[in-house]
Amino acid sequence: MLEKTQLKNISTHDFEKCLKCTICTVYCPVAAVEPRYRGPKEDGPDTERYRLKDPKYFDEMLKLCLNCKRCEVACPEGVKVGDIIQAARIKYSTHRPGLRDRMLANTDFVGGLATAFAPIVNFSLGLSITKKILDSAFKIDEHRQFPSYSHEKFESWYKKHELEQAKYSHHVSYFHGCYANYNYPQLGKDFVKVMNAVGYGVNLLEKEKCCGVALIANGLYNQAKQQGEKNVHSMRNSIKENEAVLTTSSTCTFTIRDEYKALLDIHNDDVREKISIATRFLYKLIEADKIKLAFRKDFKKKIAYHTACHMERMGWAIYSIELLKMIPGLDLTVLESRCCGIAGTYGFKKENYQNSQKIGAPLFKQIKEVNPEIVATDCETCKWQIEMSTGYKVENPISLIAQALDVEETKKLNHIEKQKL
């Protein structure tokens, strides 16, 4: 017997706080289009009670969950519905990922190979015959456009500019992620440009592994945990010398800050607060009057901002939006926050392609109605999905800041000249 009455609810992922109110079901993008998925309430806290008694109540259809966490954003009681579902997959699933899932999940291994042979890889991935083979042999949907691979990795570009970084008086580490490294180094370059302009040198981590989000989604939990431990170790060392570990991807940020602990049992409490998305870091420096940004007078763009699911879950969209609002020439529309449907590797799989497009349809429709010059979002897979499905160009807010930035004026405002540069 307890000596005192327990006054606080302490169930795992707060699952006992569920009132069965059904609000989460309104916001589940999957349940609306896929009846084989039983929805966040039933597959989450409802069945969890049964699973705790007998694992036979586990249903492999839980793999249809996108892990978008919109159920958690909607829940008035703070139940971590998405975590309950993902944790159940980790605990009970007996499904062993096949070659296709392993390929999709190992973004850094595949990315490393692909960048080495980028021209051939990009050429072949664009061919319809390749798409047909991937479709029939690997069940990667033939309609999917592959993000192209860069011939030069961001890391290789960075090496050429590493020495310059030491000259700045402040420093941050950059967790570039697989996307900036293999597919779109320009994002990394934009980040370095902006940080340098405000007096921050950029370092890389001693070792960066893929954050592991695709490994978790594809059932490769042990590998995800190993990579996560390595990242946290590198970050722990990094924050001894750097003010923060910054990212330009909402999903990498969310995975490292929240999923590591909630799903992979990686202890990150000591580094978590130092890991931030770049827009938030910049906004806070500006707010504290520590840095200033100056923008080009001739930069005029109509932008629509899409709130990526994990940005929504972190509650940080306000930082990217407020930062973009500082660009005087920006005509900004904030789109209704909805899932774009791709959810990382989910939308690449043949069995999910149709649902992925159905889920994104209302967002695509709204983008076409707004008809912006560029869509801004903090997530790279949203970028692929929106570019493929709407034809509109998508940029990370950091790239837009970099494009709009008056570098010389910004350096002057932040007294960079006076330093030893």
């Binding site: 009455t5 009132l19 084989r36 954003v73 008035p76 879950r313 972190m314 940080w316 209302p362």
Partner: protein, 415 residues
């Protein structure tokens, strides 16, 4: 981050308050933790449905004069009630939520099981009654979607028949609705509404309803259309020969989600910042003033404002909570009206007036709250968290939320 006013809670009262302030040019933030109880809306807004004796109220403005001094309406003042009610109706209509009703004469809404309840405003296109026994039609067809369980038609038929209405029950389906039916438990009103956002799917539903009805018929449908905008309902109306009207379903409520979404969008269109997924976790108080608040996800970001409004709801939304020892206001531990002795909270007979229903935060007539007996000069409470009213027994829930939201906006602007 600095605002003129920060409202904690993104439901009906918070949004009403936020919209009025933003419309007057204030820089307003609403910090929300999860969705609101509007997801359980009947599609109607109650002002005052029953008096103390439990009798149906005909004229809410007149009946409000008999309320106790602790009731939020008494604090607004009976002289102002009608003005605030008019403003609330205007606010809803401007937000794109077309409602029908009169402030000095209640009409009746139909509950999902067919019970008539007194109410003030009802969303356009939903079935309403002039008096509890006078159903507007002598003969109706109730048409339900095959397999849709959240529309308890047998009860509805039974209760309408008792009012002397000749009811025929019919069902229909389409391939898209059959697809949704493959998951019976997720075949909820809101998921059906998402299927019925597409023009083609609406047309197919219209074809099916035209098969089972004639031009002169009145067809009652479950309220499963128009989750994002009213065009789905308009399109269906145009494509069906018979006259159609809608009845409330079990939650989640499609009209409720529509109301919530429209108000939030209207607030944002007036320049308001709606911060989702940010549960407020603490506040800094000095000299009887709340200086700033912090949220779970913006922990190191002081959110400052001249004025703050607490719109966190009652027990259901977590604004007020209990443990085995006492009742408390969840966020700042503000002063509450409600006894510590838990045996006094409830009555054994569930149909009796339950004392806990009227517990809430203590405020003065300006809706300023108190902490440890001292007034907090720039912190107000609005909506269900207020003490002194029982939303079930008096049917005053939405009225209290809307009117106190507007009143506090006025009090802040007057300062």
């Amino acid at each position: 981050m600095k605002y003129d006013t920060i409202i904690i809670g993104g439901g009906l009262s918070g949004l009403a308050c936020g919209i009025s302030l933003a419309r007057k040019g204030q820089k307003v933030m609403i910090a929300a933790a999860g969705q609101s109880s509007l997801h359980f809306s009947s599609g109607s807004f109650d002002l005052l449905g029953y008096d103390k004796q439990g009798n149906i109220v005909n004229n809410p403005i007149e009946a409000a004069q008999q309320l106790d001094s602790e009731h939020p309406y008494s604090k607004i003042g009976t002289a102002l009630l009608k003005t605030r009610a008019g403003q609330a109706q205007e606010l809803l209509n401007t937000a794109g939520i077309k409602v029908n009703g009169q402030v000095e004469k209640n009409h009746f809404r139909l509950s999902p099981i067919g019970i008539a309840k007194p109410t003030w405003l009802t969303v356009d296109n939903m079935v309403t009654l002039e008096s509890p026994d006078q159903f507007p039609y002598k003969e109706v067809i109730i048409a339900n979607i095959c397999g849709f369980l959240d529309f308890p038609v047998e009860f509805l038929v039974d209760n309408l028949s008792r009012k002397g209405v000749k009811v025929t029950l019919k069902t229909f389906t389409t391939p898209e609705l059959e697809h949704a039916r493959e998951n019976p438990s997720e075949m909820r009103a809101t998921n059906i509404a998402k299927v019925l956002e597409e023009e083609n799917n609406i047309k197919k539903v219209a074809d099916e309803i035209n098969q089972i009805s004639q031009t002169q018929d009145i067809v009652i449908l479950p309220s499963v259309l128009g989750i994002a905008n009213p065009t789905a309902i308009m399109l269906l109306k145009q494509s069906i020969h018979a006259q159609i009207t809608f009845a409330a379903t079990m939650p989640p409520s499609v009209p409720g989600v529509f109301i919530q979404t429209r108000l939030r969008q209207y607030f944002q269109s007036q320049g308001g910042m709606f911060l989702k997924q940010n549960k407020v976790v603490k506040g800094d108080f000095t000299n009887h003033e709340l200086k700033c608040i912090y949220t779970e996800n913006l922990q190191d970001e002081p959110l400052q404002a001249d004025n703050f409004v607490l719109a966190t709801g009652s027990f259901f939304s977590g604004g007020i909570n209990t443990n085995y020892n006492h009742i408390f206001e969840s966020l700042f531990n503000l002063d509450i009206d409600g006894p510590d002795d838990r045996t006094q909270w409830t009555k054994e007979n569930i149909f009796e007036t339950q004392p806990y229903m009227s517990y809430g935060v203590r405020t003065d007539t300006n809706f300023n709250v108190q902490k440890n007996g001292g007034k907090i000069n720039n912190l107000y409470a609005v909506g269900s968290i207020l003490n002194g009213h029982n939303p079930i027994k008096s049917a005053d829930s939405e009225g209290v939320s809307l009117l106190t939201g507007l009143q506090v906006a006025e009090n802040i602007l007057k300062k």
